[in-house]
Point group: C2
Chain length 205, copies 2
DNA sequence: AACCAAAGTTGTACTCAGTTCACCTTGTGC
DNA sequence: GCACAAGGTGAACTGAGTACAACTTTGGTT
């Protein structure tokens, strides 16, 4: 499936394998018992690896859920590079985010399940895809030489669209409704919220 | 200054005093040495209080920076209650948030300074006023019986406006420029980002 | 004034996340 | 096969947050 197959040696392969083993063990435990109830010690044990090694691969316990691996990162970067330079930022943001999310439906469902079941994870509003926002921000700043507030606002609003969609999403319905919510969100937020003076409902009680 | 002066006993007064002492000690240490460099032990010592007592008042170390005290909460709730029920949500959000922020200029500056100097605080995107967003969300849901996605979006976008403003704000300029940024943010986000087909800049290099 | 229950404070002891470091183990290039 | 570096490990440490039993203070009762 990947493009360049042969160049990586045994070392690299083992490393990736270990990383996957840790993540797999962790996710399984999290799904079964909940994020807060599983200690790093137990994850390490379940993955046949030392605690120290766990922290060699993942900077925090949360990272095991949220950090992307090299494949995902590459996919993401290709996506960013694919948008034409003269496309309006708002349009590009929609396209990029939707394409990305569509590429990771199952992953999303797993993440959301774990997040929903954990007090601390839910609270720390580590959102949709997190580690990418920094990169996305740089990308936006690079391609758009407009007013910094305007750029930052559009990024923030895009994030708000995702947050709202995730918040209203019922995981058990699968990924499709989420994507629908996100598309609607982009449409509504893109149109703005200036109160229509005509449609003034005077509903009471 | 407060409305009901006499009803609270010595107990209550002492409690509030302790809370203030802890917060004052903490903020002073944070400003001088940075959030990450000051341990809860040292804060407690500086406030002449035990570690345990610290955690009786503040659930986490972060809370000492971000949690509002009873006065602030009351002010906030009055503000929410003051908006007419038939005012459009987007308008009400702007008014409420701006009024609130204007009421806490100095506090904002202090918070921002501490946040800017801390790696962990900056990362955990505990934003503008945090503990209020839950309340604000309920308030919005209660007053607006429209589509939940629309309501959630407007809240999210309002938060994006604040985030962007805070991000671009240079603390040393004082609170005024921040408020200007926020007002501009509300205007721009409220107008939406639908790409204007006319104004197509084909700037290159 | 002496007494008492409830509220508030404290020290102790614990769990767990995350860091540091010196020491092994193993893949790779020679 | 050998040397060296990349990677894995155990031990020991710091600091946040929790649990709890013992102590002190407040405010009301007799």
């Amino acid at each position: 499936m990947t493009v360049g197959e042969q160049p990586i040696g045994l070392r690299e392969r083992k490393k990736l394998e270990t990383r996957r083993a840790i993540r797999a063990a962790a996710l399984e435990l999290f799904e079964r018992e909940g994020f807060d109830e599983v200690s790093v010690d137990r994850i390490a044990a379940a993955a046949n690896v030392s605690r120290t090694t766990f922290f060699n691969f993942f900077p925090t316990k949360e990272a095991v859920v949220f950090d992307a691996d090299s494949e995902q990162v590459a996919q993401w970067q290709a996506l960013l590079a694919s948008r034409p330079a003269d496309e309006p930022l708002w349009t590009a943001l929609q396209k990029v985010l939707l394409a990305y999310l569509e590429g990771f439906r199952e992953h999303l469902v797993a993440k959301q399940r774990i997040k929903a079941a954990s007090r601390t994870l839910g609270a720390s509003s580590r959102d949709a895809n997190d580690r990418f926002w920094a990169e996305l921000t740089e990308w936006a700043a690079r391609r758009d030489d407009g007013d910094p507030l305007t750029v930052s606002l559009q990024l923030g609003v895009a994030q708000a669209v995702l947050n709202s969609a995730f918040a209203l999403w019922d995981v058990d319905d699968g990924a499709e409704p989420l994507l629908r919510l996100i598309r609607r969100g982009f449409a509504e937020a893109g149109a703005g919220f200036r109160p229509a003076p005509s449609r003034r409902r005077t509903r009471r009680t």
